[in-house]
């Protein structure tokens, strides 16, 4: 059974058709890419799946259960983790608090535990902290654990955001331009991290990216979106050689 399935999803912002008849079918453990020029509707698709917008038409299923009409936090708890294009971090919170926060739905001590500091709360918080430290170490940012997140260098902030998304133990991870604004060195490191988490956690990943190098190296299948419509879908080679994609997005000089 496919992990995430989208059937003919369409979305209008007022009279503007942002996404049209979008289909998707991701299997467990797959890395999929979504490319397209600015304003093509890539992030809108992420926001539609994660419940920030409700699609005008079409159905979305995660492991067979419908996501339409659910609130973002429900969808997230069902197993969709994500990062944001412009890194939505919480500016007054420490790195450790970020990663622990994403385990919100995993905690069961409730308000009684929160008010009176029960043994169960201490146990669950300690466990949560241990897992958070493990993820931070894995991302190579554990030395920043107690720092306020906005004091970190840019690349480290990106990793914290990724650790936060992984901390909710998702079944599929949505990455919205994970390498935006990175220098070549950071870029290589980030690709390595994505490759590693995919391999070790056997996590399905859905990636929006502008850098061809990243998408072409990481993804098994790629969709190209232009004006809200998928104009091509296939393996990296097929996409690279597809005349429509070259015309609309890649440009002639990229393909030699």
């Amino acid at each position: 059974m496919s992990l995430l399935e989208i059937d003919r999803m369409t979305h209008y912002f007022g009279g503007l058709r942002a996404v049209h008849n979008y289909d998707l079918d991701i299997n467990p453990g797959q890395i999929r890419g979504l490319i397209g020029p600015n304003g093509a509707g890539k992030t809108t698709i992420f926001n539609l799946i994660t419940g920030i917008y409700q699609p005008t038409e079409g159905k979305i299923f995660l492991e067979g259960s419908e996501l339409n009409g659910r609130s973002p936090h429900e969808i997230a708890s069902m197993g969709i983790g994500r990062t944001f294009q412009n890194m939505l971090l919480w500016r007054h919170m420490t790195v450790l608090e970020h990663v622990k926060m994403a385990r919100y739905s995993k905690l069961s001590y409730g308000l009684i535990g929160a008010f009176f500091g029960t043994a169960r709360r201490h146990r669950e918080e300690a466990e949560s902290e241990e897992k958070a430290y493990y993820l931070l170490k894995r991302m190579g940012v554990d030395q920043f654990a107690d720092q306020i997140v906005i004091n970190l260098p840019y690349g480290a902030q990106r990793r914290v955001e990724m650790a936060r998304a992984l901390s909710m133990e998702p079944k599929i991870l949505f990455l919205d331009e994970p390498t935006a604004g990175m220098n070549p060195e950071e870029l290589v490191q980030m690709m390595e991290i994505i490759r590693n988490i995919h391999k070790d956690l056997h996590l399905a990943i859905f990636l929006i990216e502008h850098r061809m190098k990243v998408v072409m190296e990481l993804c098994e299948r790629i969709q190209t979106l232009v004006f809200g419509e998928v104009i091509a879908e296939g393996t990296p080679e097929e996409i690279q050689n597809n005349p429509k994609v070259i015309d609309a997005y890649l440009g002639k000089e990229t393909v030699e």
Binding site: T50, I52, S71, P72, H73, A76, S77, R82, F84, L88, L89, W90, R91, H92, M93, E97, K100, M101, A102, R103, Y104, S105, L107, Y109, L111, G113, A114, F115, F116, G117, R121, E125, S128, R164, A165, M168
Partner: protein
């Protein structure tokens, strides 16, 4: 010339450093012991000592009142404060520092609750002896403790959650009136409600129930604000909560059953200093537990970026609702305590002036911090009392001070600092 100024700056720098090391080496227990000795000193020799200095009696509030009334007594007042409070505290704290550090270290071998109780006991002893000197001091101490509770409860909403709520006087009023009705109806022979239903002797055992009723009624009131305003973010809460405050006030004014604009009096005097102290400690403990849990931290996440909080599985709507009702609950409890301290409430107590006072405490002390709430509440209520002789000018000086704080420390004196009891009571490192 240059040499002297350099020398002078050197001296100030050195004294700054030595004060810092001096302060940093004394554990909390040492300070409490110093304060206890100072208060005991005042208790036994305060009045005769004040007379020798030419003061009419022992200073009731660290000399602030007398300085403003009779400026020529300033030197005596300063001498009094220096010799009764500052020097004894400093000497005792410094000389006992090493012993106290060892003692505190030993205490931590036992469960932490043990040393917490010792610290609280000592703190209570200080407050008790200090307020034992006069009825006025007793009132000031109780109002200060209640102010801590109110400030903390508003800090949950305006600080931790980052919304702007103006309905706290309304919650205070709801708590004060509902608890008063409960106690007056059941235990007091009264003009409005007639004879008492139950014997007054068992009354004090029902006082906690009265407080909880006060809190719950305020929380129900909060629901009326929260349901319409938490659908969206932004200014809606400020406007709706302001409206709520006025609605509660005029509702009570027009409710003849509880005395209307004349107010409700003859509450039993169960809110004594130990009771208020215990309630405030309990409030600080529970609220601090809450804001340090992941559920409490979720408030910060919602404040800093709600979309991200939602995407990270945080149930934002439930988080906001819980925090708002929780804050209102403690405001209600504080209102109930207040009613039983003053033993007379009238709707005029809970107007926009009260709101200004509470907001001043929150923003002066510091957002998102339990320390800030304590400092803000104690600071503004002491200042309010100290400036009482200035009458109207009080309400010029306090806002001015607030403006200065906003300019130089926009989030308040001690903002965004965690209140970690463990760190607070542990022994201080002595630098070689």
């Amino acid at each position: 010339m240059e040499a002297t100024s350099e020398k002078l700056s050197n001296i100030t720098r050195l004294s700054k450093i030595s004060i810092r090391t001096f302060v940093s080496q004394v554990p909390l227990l040492g300070w409490l012991l110093g304060a206890l000795i100072a208060v005991a000193l005042e208790h036994f020799v305060g009045t005769p000592f004040a007379r020798t200095l030419g003061l009419p009696k022992a200073l009731s509030l660290f000399g602030f009142l007398i300085i403003l009334k009779k400026p020529f007594l300033i030197p005596s007042a300063v001498a009094y404060v220096l010799l009764i409070y500052i020097l004894p505290i400093g000497i005792v704290a410094r000389s006992s520092a090493s012993i106290m550090n060892k003692l505190v270290g030993k205490l931590l071998d036992f469960p932490m609750i043990f040393s917490v109780i010792i610290h609280l006991g000592l703190l209570y002893a200080v407050v008790h002896w200090w307020s034992d000197m006069s009825l006025y001091r007793n009132d000031v101490a109780r109002f200060m403790l209640i102010a801590v509770m109110v400030t903390l409860s508003l800090n949950i909403i305006n600080g931790y959650m980052g919304e702007f709520s103006c309905s706290h006087p309304g919650f205070l009023a709801l708590g004060a009136y509902s608890a008063s009705v409960f106690t007056v109806l059941l235990f007091v022979d009264d003009r409005i409600f007639g004879l008492a239903w139950l014997p007054k002797t068992i009354g004090p055992f029902f006082f906690p129930i009265a407080l909880i009723i006060g809190g719950l009624v305020a929380a129900v009131g909060a629901l009326a604000v929260a349901i319409p305003s938490f659908r969206t973010r932004g200014d809606y809460l400020a406007i709706i909560s302001l409206a709520f405050m006025f609605i509660v006030k005029s509702l009570i004014e027009n409710l003849e059953v509880v005395g209307g604009p004349r107010g409700l009096s003859s509450q039993p005097n169960w809110a004594s200093l130990p009771v208020v102290f215990m309630c405030t400690v309990l409030a600080v403990w529970i609220i601090n537990n809450f804001v340090r849990s992941t559920f409490g931290k979720a408030l910060n996440a919602v404040r800093d970026n709600e979309m991200a909080a939602d995407a990270m599985t945080v149930n934002t709507r439930r988080t906001k609702m819980t925090a708002f009702l929780f804050g209102a609950f403690w405001a209600g409890v504080a209102g109930a305590l207040y009613a039983h301290v003053v033993r007379y409430v009238n709707p005029g107590d809970f107007d926009i002036k009260k709101l200004a006072e509470v907001l001043a405490m929150v923003y002066f002390g510091g957002l998102n911090s339990v320390y800030g709430a304590i400092v803000g509440a104690c600071g503004i209520s002491l200042l309010g009392e100290a400036l009482r002789p200035l009458a109207l000018y009080k309400w010029i000086i306090i806002p001015l001070l607030l403006i200065l704080v906003m300019i130089y420390r926009p989030t308040g004196l001690i903002a965004f600092k965690e209140f970690d009891v463990k760190k607070l009571i542990q022994p201080k490192k002595v630098s070689p």
